[in-house]
Subunit: 351 residues, 2 copies
């Protein structure tokens, strides 16, 4: 662990605060609606207030990072798309043509595209250059990264979160792009939970059942060879993770250290969040689980985290798209919480 | 049936159009994402385009009506809140203090509050005066409305939809306020489907299990006395419905007649939508089922309609709140559909 990361982890405090929670609940129950009748929107408001440590926070200012990197494990033929697509999609993000661009524009979310390890020359602005390597190594035959590279990626993510907060963001989200990264996320998930490869290896962006079984076999072989230690999340990230996955883990830690809540996207982001929570369990209270993806391993990781997803809409794109969709629900929750009249102020009889 | 309603029903065409659907699907699959990877957002885009009859519609312009009315059946002690709350909440809507106001402001939705039968003097602007009666009669002892009143309410709803469309709206939604209206919606649902009162009577805004059983008994008694005919939706609305429920049914029909899609809120709006679909089955293709509410009968009505809800967030407020939340998802779906680059235009390799 680096000095920076050590300090970061120690700065993350459990957001639980019974007095603040009573105050937030009191306000929710004073609003002109039957208590609890807005269901999970009320939960979101409580979560946001507790994470911010405020009884009446301002409307969220939203920022999202898309962390992009390549994966050596694509050599094993685990993906339905060629490796070049990572680079091509970064150019698409930079040009504003991807799903995440459309969603962020629509929702008023400041988006940053981060190259943390794409197999390419540096892209130049607007892509943020945090390239640590031109992709990971093939973890089916050797460790994906050195421990130093994994730490660098964690730090890059943490710095990006801190920068977004310094720029005024009060709600963060992370997503990713990286051909091959459902395989890395499955391997990391197995490493951290002890689950079988077959439970976590899914169809990714579109391989068939034979392709899925092949992915599971590649993951199983890698785990047997790399022997990652579940008690050492940094080591597990280095062994079978990805640069963008480590960066997302760092981003979630960086958000939590600044008391800024973060929305987690799909399967890959959840694997990163799991690594973050294993590094510092207090991080959990700052995270919102945007959706349960169509990728089969996602449900398993959510279960391991005791996490309840908001949306079940069959998303399996990544890029932070599900998180961007859920950010709209956070806006709605805070609008209701901040703006509604109380039974007293509106002169409405309580039940 | 009035001449106006007869013409309205005949104007509603099935939005199914295989050629248009292929064109929309072709565009969806050309966008830079794995086919289908945005799940239900892609379904929403397809639904919207088909309802509008356009391959590339403009971003939605949104309007929502909250239909408000009182219910004679409150005399039976079926609600956790006193009857005056309907009038008080209309004042709260007018002052902008309710959940639906906050959600509509946040989402850029033009909201109209419609008094179709509140037990009060007329409210004056900004409340739209379409008052037909000062509430329905107690359907446990006599029909809730005359057939003429039910037709008037249907027409009022249809006119409001037409006005919104004339003012430029391309996406409508309806919600309601009316103390006692989960009882009316349960009775109407039973009348139209033959389901048992115990299946459709739920806890509403907060009665306990004894209260719920009492509601079910009231509904059962009313059905036995009124004997509504499931093949006569107008008669069923008059017998055991509500003025705001009939108006919502008319609103959905009015939207469909103008090829404008509409988002249905919770249990009560779904009962109204069921009546609309029974009056003209082609209406179904214009409706989006925003959420599955915590009210137990909602799932049953959705099943009867073969409808799949978007959100499962434990909402049970009404007012159109769940529909307003789901309108944000329609905005997101259309942003993605309209703005994303294609594989060709972005130079991204397809899988």
């Amino acid at each position: 662990m680096t000095e920076y990361l050590q300090l970061l982890l120690e700065a993350i405090e459990d957001p639980a605060d019974p007095a603040l929670e009573r105050s937030v609940q009191g306000r929710l129950d004073s609003l002109t609606k039957p208590p609890g009748s807005l269901g999970r929107l009320e939960e979101i408001a409580r979560w946001y207030c507790l994470a911010r440590g405020e009884a009446l926070p301002a409307a969220p200012r939203k920022a999202l990072c898309v962390f992009c990197a390549d994966h050596g494990v694509t050599e094993e033929g685990v993906s339905a798309y060629p490796r070049e697509v990572t680079r091509q999609m970064v150019l698409n993000f930079a040009a504003g043509g991807a799903a995440i661009n459309a969603l962020c524009r629509q929702g008023g979310v400041e988006a940053t595209i981060v190259d943390v390890g794409v197999d390419s020359e540096p892209f130049g602005p607007p892509v943020r250059d945090e390239k640590i390597a031109r992709g990971t190594r093939n973890f089916a035959v050797e460790p994906a990264m050195t421990r130093g590279e994994a730490l660098q990626a964690l730090e890059a993510g943490a710095r990006l979160a801190a920068e977004a907060v310094d720029a005024g963001a009060t709600l963060l989200a992370a997503g990713e792009m990286g051909i091959g990264n459902t395989t890395a996320a499955a391997a990391l998930g197995c490493a951290l939970t002890g689950r079988a490869a077959d439970e976590l290896a899914g169809r990714g962006t579109g391989v068939d059942e034979a392709g899925r079984r092949h992915k599971a076999a590649v993951v199983e072989r890698a785990l047997a060879a790399r022997k990652p230690d579940s008690a050492d999340p940094v080591g597990a990230l280095a062994a079978v993770g990805g640069l963008e996955i480590a960066a997302m883990a760092g981003y979630f830690l960086g958000a939590a250290a600044r008391r800024v809540p973060a929305v987690v996207d799909g399967f890959i982001a959840t694997a990163a969040a799991l690594a973050a929570v294993r590094l510092r369990k207090e991080t959990l209270g700052y995270l919102l689980w945007s959706h349960e993806s169509a990728e089969q391993g996602h449900r398993v990781l959510l279960q391991e985290l005791g996490a309840k997803s908001l949306l079940q809409m069959g998303f399996r794109l990544g890029e932070g798209s599900g998180a961007a969709v859920a950010m709209g629900l956070v806006d709605q929750a805070l609008a209701v919480y901040r703006e509604m009249a109380t039974f007293d102020s509106a002169g409405v009889s309580a039940g």
